[in-house]
Structure formats: structure tokens, C-alpha cells
């Protein structure tokens, strides 16, 4: 089980890393989502016990570690906030530059910098 869970975490992380390297900002955001999935799954998998849901009345036998569940919940919600913010940023970038791919953005940035330097020289 441990091996299997870590393999799945690795696949999630690898796919996320692959997407983060793309030039398309929206794919980068999806990549970040996958990476946070990997983190969440790691958290869940690191429970010391596995069993039934830890809800009263307690079932016979072992219950799952509630602590990691609480932490995963927190991480999930924070991941959600971060992803939403990333999306907001991506959209804002699109609005100002009409592009969300890195190469175009880099060109744009270089152009602006050159403009600024020109202004400084003329001042």
C-alpha cells in the first residue's frame, strides 16, 4: 500500500511539474493544482492508522488517523484559495497583455523595459 500510494503521489507530482513547465499560463495553473493534489494525498497517506471514519459512536476496530485528515482539509482549502488567486492573476495578465504564454509575455516585458529606458534617457 505504501509503495502504491507513493507511486501515485509521484505520478501526480511529475505530471504537475511537466505542466508547470509549459508556456501556457493556464496549463501552469493546472500543473499547480496537480502538485497540490500530490501534497494532499501525501498528507492523507501519512496517517498512522487506517480504518473506519473517526466519528462517534466509534466503530469496532481501528479508526483512521483524524489528525492528518484535519490537516488535509486545511491544505485543500488553502490550495483552493491559492489556485483561485493564480487563475485571477492569469486572467489579469491576459487582460493587460492579451497573451498568457510566457514567450509572448517575455517579449512584451522586454519591449516595455526598452520603452522605460528610452524614457529615462530622454528625461
Amino acid at each position: 500500500m505504501i509503495l502504491l500510494l507513493s507511486a501515485v503521489v509521484a505520478v501526480l507530482f511529475g505530471a504537475g511539474a511537466f505542466l508547470v513547465l509549459k508556456t501556457d499560463l493556464l496549463r501552469v495553473v493546472v500543473g499547480m493544482v496537480l502538485i497540490s493534489h500530490a501534497a494532499n494525498l501525501t498528507l492523507m497517506a501519512s496517517g498512522l492508522t487506517r480504518g473506519k471514519a473517526p466519528i462517534y459512536p466509534l466503530p469496532n476496530g481501528e479508526v483512521s488517523d483524524p489528525l492528518v485528515q484535519a490537516m488535509t482539509l486545511t491544505a485543500l482549502v488553502i490550495g483552493f484559495g491559492v489556485t483561485a488567486l493564480l487563475l485571477g492573476i492569469a486572467y489579469r495578465v491576459y487582460e493587460t497583455h492579451f497573451a498568457v504564454d510566457f514567450d509572448r509575455l517575455a517579449e512584451e516585458e522586454a519591449r516595455r523595459e526598452a520603452e522605460l529606458e528610452q524614457e529615462e534617457v530622454s528625461v
Binding site: L5, R27, T49, Y56, P66, L87, L105, A106, E109
Partner: protein, 743 residues
């Protein structure tokens, strides 16, 4: 005087009195545990050395604060700065004082190091007090870099000693050190830190630069703090230094070199404070020589020298400041004849100058007597060098005082506040008192030497009216010095050449070149790092990944990985996990954004099912909720963007250079994650988990679901943080979408 000046003066006076009282009553000091597991203690004690430097720091500090009460408002007025900047000045001066007293009384090497750096920080801000001037900023930075970098040597020396003897406590170390390579190494490193702090060759160049500071700061820096801290350290670590003859001889060489370099350059300087700064280099050269010559006479002489120098030099610096305030001139060539306009100042600084030139009836006579005595005891060659050094001092100090106060009046002086002349007269008076009644000062020096030597020291000084060696040497020093003063033409050209040679080839060039090349390297790395967003992120992630890799390599792997067990009931879980993994791989394939989104969402939903199978219904529910909302959010963004743009994005081809790189990096990342996570999951912590307690206490929290009880009760603060993050993200998004307007 303004309120901050009054408060500072009162505090300085109080500290002075308390130090005296503590010395008188033989206060046992303070000894509190600081970090017991590291063997660190907050341990302070007023031993002789501590008393000497604490008295200097608070006593000279008191005089300097009084003087600053009049000086700083004028200074700020010249600079057209607001009066409230005064608070900053006095606050920093007090910090300086506190760090100096802490340094002097610390009985623990780490504590000593902390205060050592604190003096550097205080001096950095004080030297750069006129922060609008580039010169002051450069000077402050230079002082900080030179003394700060060498301070690391002090720390390394400390750690070397700790590694060998297992303690930071100075008395324990003194009791246990034995001559040998380790101690010599540690003592050399520490001595280098001390020599840099007291501006000895080849570290001397920062001190004349530091003249950019306001005059009272210079006075304090040179006489009682910062620079004095350097020789204080030599006194404190003297037990380590004396284990190696070679090290002591090295000190003699460095001391004489500083004495002559400082003295010769001082003869050529035109700006008053520059002259005095080089004089300080030369004067602390004497002290370093005295420590190097060692023995009772040398060590007592060194401590006594510090007292005499502190009184005289602070008075002379305050004189330079008062003269500059009165006439607006700072150069020797523009000044002259001020004895008529400022007789009190002329008297006070005349006494101080006489003290430095070692004339009889001043405390300075005895400082040179001890110096000559230590030289004679060593060898005739050293004795000749001591005479030459003293003659140089006589010449440049004479040049200073005569140039300012005698001769024709060159610059008219207007009246200055009594606070500007009072401290000078008082300090000059002390120089005279020390010449007539040297006993208390000698007692202080003996006590300080006792702390350095670890044995009682009882050197006494008297006037001997006979033809003993010391007297003859003093006379010949006066004669040579007076001859040099009378015939400047003889040496002027040679001294100028020496000074210019030093500027051309001196260590300051090395410093400038080092700083410049460091700056260029940093710029180059920065240039690579910030080329675009990707390189910026890579600059953080690549080193991070490398660190993790190093951690992996350093961790023993034997038995670190376990496969874990699978039972029949897990079939469903395995299937869902496989689905999640396949979906994750599938996210790398689609071109269309909507397809990509749906595949990514299916990863999230399958993970929700995984969570459910792992016994976490709450997590599964929240995961579903989050995944749904996120998917909708993505769709919303896609809907906002024109279809043509999305289509163009989808049609983007990966450039051929990246076609292989991206999957490779992804695979490497996956492999690293696999190794790390597998290793972490294979070895769950063996200790007791707090989870059991949580489960037990849940009914007391009036809850049935343990996870909710943890979230809302046991770890409620975490949840508060989480809510805050979401709220901040919300505000961020709202601002972004409304183009920076929230309302």
C-alpha cells in the same frame, strides 16, 4: 540641551557611577542560563579589564553626550535636517555604550561575539549618520564590512576553542588552555578580529574614512568604543595569545608597522580629523606593541596607555568639532591663531595634546615611560623603534595644536556654546590630574592587567629625576620630535611620498577591488536569475530540489523503504488510485483547454474517492466541493477569454528544444518525489500521536466527528489561519478582476 540629550547624559552618568560602585563593592556579576543545552550563559562580571573599559565607555560617553547636546542641533541645522533626528543620534550612542559595556563585562565568548557585532552595528549607523552624503554611506559600509568580516574570525576562533575544550566560558577556557596548535590557531583568528577593529595595518584604511561621522561620534569611536574594543579583545584573550611566542612577536611587528604608517601619514594630513584618525592608528599601534612585548610591564602599560589615550584623544576630537563649529573650517591650512578667540579650548586641548606627546606632568608621560621600559627590557633595537614612534607622535600632535592655536589668525571664530568647550577642558584637566596623581589610573591599569595575566600586577610609576634610560629616551624623543616640527622641509617630501604610495598601493585598493568584483558577480547571477519568470522560479526550485536530493543521499537507505501490505478489501482503493494516476498522466496530452480541465477535474474527483476509502468522509466531501468550485472557476475564466485566444493558445507548439526537456524534468521530479515520499511514508514516527488524545476528548468538545472537533476546537487557530488565507485570496482576486479598485 534637548530632552534626549538630557536623558542620555543622565543614563551615562548613572552607568558610570554604577560601574564605579560595582568595582568598589566587588560585585559578583550576573550569571544566568541562556541556552543551557548549548552551554551558553548570560554571564557578566566586572573584573579589572571590564571595569576599565566600562568606565571609559560610560565616562567618555558622558562627556561626549554633553558635548553632543550642543553639537548635534547645530550639525542638524547645517544639514537642514529636522530636529527629531536628534533622538536617533542619542539612541544609537546609548546603544553603542551599552554594547561596549556588555562587551567589556561578558564572560562568555559567544556573548562577547554578540556585543562585538553590536558595536559594529551601532558604529555603522553612527558613521553613516549623515545618510544623505555618499561619503558617509561608503565610510559606514567600509567600517561594517572590514570589522564585520573579521568578526567572523572571532566566531571561528571561539568555535575552535569550543571544539577542543567544550566550553564558551572565558574563565574556564583560561584555566584549561595549554600551548599548542589549536590554541594558537584560535588566538590568531581572534587577534586578527581585534586588529581589524583597532584599525591596525593592513586593516587601518577604514578608520580615516570613518571621519565622515559627526565629531562627537569620532571622539567616542576612537577613544572609548569600537576601536578601543579591538585592543580590549587583545587584553581579554591575552591568556591565549601568550601561549605562542610567535604570535606575540607578530603583534609587535603589526604594532610598529601601524605606529609608523599612522604617524607618517598623520604628519601629511591637512584635515584635522584625518590627522587625528591616523594618529589613532599609530596610538593603538603602541598598545598592540605593548601587548606583544608582554610581561607585566607590557600588559599594564597597554591598559594604562588605553586610559591615557582615551582621555587625550577624545578631547582632541571634540576640539576639532568645536573648531569646525566656530570657524567653519576643517583644514589645518585654513586655521591658526585660535588661542586668542578660544583660550579655554586652547588650554584644554593643549593639555590633551601634551598628554599624547608624553610631556611631564601629564598622564601621557607615564604611558611613554612604561612603553620605553617594556622596549628596553626586550632589546636595544626595539628601544630605538619606541623612541622613533614617540618622536613621531610628538611631531604630529605638535603640528596639530600649533597649527590650530598658534600663529596668525586665519579664520575668524564666533562664540560657541560652553558645552562645546567644557568637556574638552574637563578631559584636558583629567590628563593633567593623571600626571600629578597617577595612582588611581595605575591602580585601574594594574587591575585590568591582572585580568589579562591571571596574576596580580603591581607596576608603579613615579617621576625619577635621574638619568635613567626611560628619561633619556623621552628626552631624545622630544628632541627628535621638536627638530621635525622646526624643520618640516626636511621630511615633508618623503612623508608625502610615503602617504601617496600607501594610497596608490595600499590595502584599500584590495578592499575596493574585492567589493567591486563581488558586486559584479552578484549582478551577473542576478541577471541570469531574473531573465524571465521561468528562470526566477527555477532559481528557487532548482536549489531547493538539489537540497532535497542531498538530504536523500545523506540519509542511510538500508531498511528505509517498506512496501506495505495490501489486503482483499483494498481492491476498490487500488482501482481508484490507478484511475487518479492515469488521469494525471492524461492531463499532459490534451490540446483543448476544456478537455484539459475535465481530465484534471477527474483527477480531483478520483482523489476525493480515495480519501473516502482512506476513512476520511469529511475530506472527501470537501474535496468534491473544492473540485467542483474550481472547475466552475476555470470554466468561468475560459468563458471570459475570447475563443480565438484560447484557440491560439491551444495551437501553441512546444519548441523543439523543450520537447524532450519537459518530459525529462517531469520524470525526474516524479522520481524524486517518489523517493522522498516513499521514504517518508515507510518510516512513520514511532512516538505517540496526539490523535488518540483527540479521539478521546471529542465527546468533551460536544462533537461527534473527531475531524470537525480538531478543526474547530483543538486546532482552531490553524483553521483561523486557513480562513485568513482564503479571505486574502478573495480580496486579491477581487482586486485583480476589478483592475486594482476594490470599491
Amino acid at each position: 540641551m534637548s530632552l534626549p540629550a538630557r536623558v542620555s547624559a543622565a543614563l551615562a552618568a548613572l552607568a558610570f557611577v554604577l560601574t564605579l560602585a560595582g568595582w568598589w563593592s566587588g560585585s559578583p556579576g550576573i550569571d544566568l542560563p541562556w541556552a543551557p543545552s548549548l552551554g551558553l550563559r548570560l554571564s557578566f562580571e566586572l573584573d579589572g579589564l571590564g571595569v576599565l573599559y566600562s568606565l571609559l565607555a560610560t565616562g567618555i560617553g558622558f562627556a561626549v553626550v554633553l558635548y553632543s547636546g550642543a553639537y548635534v542641533p547645530l550639525h542638524l541645522e547645517h544639514q537642514q535636517r529636522p530636529h527629531r533626528d536628534e533622538v536617533r543620534f542619542f539612541g544609537l550612542l546609548l546603544l553603542f555604550m551599552v554594547s561596549m559595556v556588555g562587551l567589556a563585562t561578558a564572560r562568555d565568548l559567544i556573548l562577547l561575539f554578540v556585543f562585538w557585532d553590536l558595536t559594529a552595528i551601532a558604529s555603522y549607523f553612527l558613521i553613516g549618520y549623515d545618510r544623505q552624503e555618499a561619503e558617509a554611506r561608503t565610510a559606514a559600509l567600509m567600517a561594517l564590512v572590514v570589522t564585520g568580516v573579521t568578526a567572523v574570525l572571532l566566531l571561528i576562533g571561539t568555535l575552535v576553542l569550543y571544539a577542543e575544550y567544550g566550553t564558551f566560558s572565558i574563565p574556564e577556557l583560561v584555566a584549561s588552555v595549554e600551548p599548542g596548535g589549536t590554541v594558537t590557531l584560535a588566538a590568531t583568528l581572534m587577534a586578527l578580529a581585534g586588529l581589524a577593529k583597532c584599525a591596525q595595518v593592513p586593516f587601518h584604511f577604514w578608520l580615516p574614512r570613518a571621519m565622515a561621522a559627526p565629531s562627537p561620534v569620532s571622539a567616542y569611536l576612537h577613544a572609548a568604543a569600537m576601536v578601543a574594543a579591538g585592543v580590549f579583545l587583545l587584553g581579554r584573550i591575552y591568556p591565549f595569545l601568550e601561549t605562542s611566542e610567535l604570535l606575540l612577536d607578530g603583534l609587535v611587528v603589526v604594532g610598529f608597522a601601524s605606529m609608523f604608517v599612522g604617524g607618517i601619514v598623520a604628519l601629511t594630513r591637512d584635515r584635522l580629523k584625518q590627522l587625528l584618525a591616523y594618529s589613532t592608528v599609530s596610538q593603538y599601534g603602541y598598545v598592540v606593541v605593548l601587548y606583544g612585548l608582554g610581561d607585566t610591564v607590557g600588559v599594564v602599560g597597554a591598559s594604562f596607555y588605553v586610559i591615557a589615550h582615551a582621555l587625550a584623544k577624545s578631547a582632541l576630537f571634540l576640539t576639532a568639532g568645536a573648531v569646525a563649529e566656530a570657524t567653519g573650517e576643517r583644514r589645518l591650512s585654513e586655521l591658526g591663531g585660535l588661542r586668542r578667540a578660544m583660550p579655554a579650548l586652547a588650554l584644554g586641548s593643549g593639555l590633551a595634546a601634551a598628554g599624547l606627546a608624553a610631556l611631564p606632568l601629564t598622564i601621557g608621560f607615564f604611558k611613554d615611560e612604561l612603553f620605553f621600559q617594556a622596549g628596553v627590557e626586550r632589546s636595544p633595537g626595539i628601544a630605538v623603534l619606541t623612541i622613533l614612534g614617540a618622536a613621531l607622535t610628538f611631531a604630529y600632535i605638535g603640528r596639530f595644536w600649533i597649527g590650530v592655536f598658534l600663529g596668525p589668525t586665519r579664520a575668524p571664530a564666533h562664540r560657541v556654546s560652553a558645552l562645546l568647550t567644557g568637556p574638552v577642558v574637563a578631559l584636558g584637566g583629567l590628563v593633567l590630574v593623571g600626571g600629578l596623581l597617577p595612582e588611581p589610573f595605575v591602580a585601574l591599569a594594574n587591575a585590568a592587567a591582572e585580568a589579562s595575566l591571571g596574576a596580580a600586577a603591581s607596576v608603579d610609576v613615579f617621576y625619577h629625576l635621574d638619568a635613567r634610560a626611560e628619561n633619556l629616551m623621552a628626552l631624545s624623543a622630544y628632541a627628535i620630535g621638536a627638530a621635525a616640527l622646526a624643520a618640516p622641509r626636511v621630511w615633508r617630501a618623503a612623508a608625502e611620498t610615503c602617504a601617496r604610495l600607501g594610497e596608490r598601493l595600499g590595502p584599500e585598493r584590495v578592499y575596493v577591488a574585492t567589493i567591486r568584483s563581488l558586486n559584479e558577480t552578484s549582478d551577473r547571477i542576478h541577471g541570469i536569475e531574473v531573465r524571465d519568470l521561468r528562470t526566477r522560479i527555477a532559481a528557487i526550485l532548482v536549489p531547493g530540489g538539489l537540497l532535497v536530493l542531498l538530504g536523500l543521499l545523506a540519509t542511510p537507505t538500508a531498511g528505509a523503504y517498506t512496501v506495505g501490505s495490501l489486503d482483499r478489501g483494498d481492491t476498490a482503493l487500488v482501482l481508484v488510485l490507478a484511475t487518479a494516476a492515469l488521469a494525471a498522466i492524461a492531463t499532459t496530452l490534451p490540446r483543448q483547454h476544456l478537455t484539459l480541465l475535465l481530465v484534471a477535474a477527474s483527477v480531483g474527483f478520483s482523489l476525493a474517492v480515495v480519501y473516502a476509502f482512506l476513512g476520511g468522509p469529511d475530506v472527501a466531501l470537501v474535496a468534491v466541493l473544492v473540485e467542483t468550485t474550481l472547475t466552475l472557476l476555470f470554466i468561468g475564466v475560459f468563458a471570459l477569454m475570447p475563443r480565438a485566444s484560447l484557440r491560439r493558445l491551444a495551437a501553441l507548439r512546444t519548441p523543439p528544444t523543450r520537447r524532450w526537456r519537459d518530459p525529462l524534468v517531469g520524470a525526474a521530479a516524479a522520481l524524486a518525489a517518489f523517493l522522498v515520499v516513499w521514504g517518508a511514508l515507510s518510516r512513520p514516527s514511532v512516538g505517540e500521536s496526539v490523535a488518540e488524545e483527540h479521539v478521546r476528548l471529542t465527546p468533551d468538545a460536544h462533537a461527534k466527528d473527531v475531524v470537525t472537533a480538531i478543526l474547530t476546537d483543538f486546532r482552531g487557530l490553524d483553521t483561523l489561519g486557513e480562513i485568513t488565507v482564503v479571505a486574502i485570496a478573495f480580496f486579491g482576486i477581487a482586486t485583480l478582476l476589478r483592475r486594482g479598485r476594490l470599491s
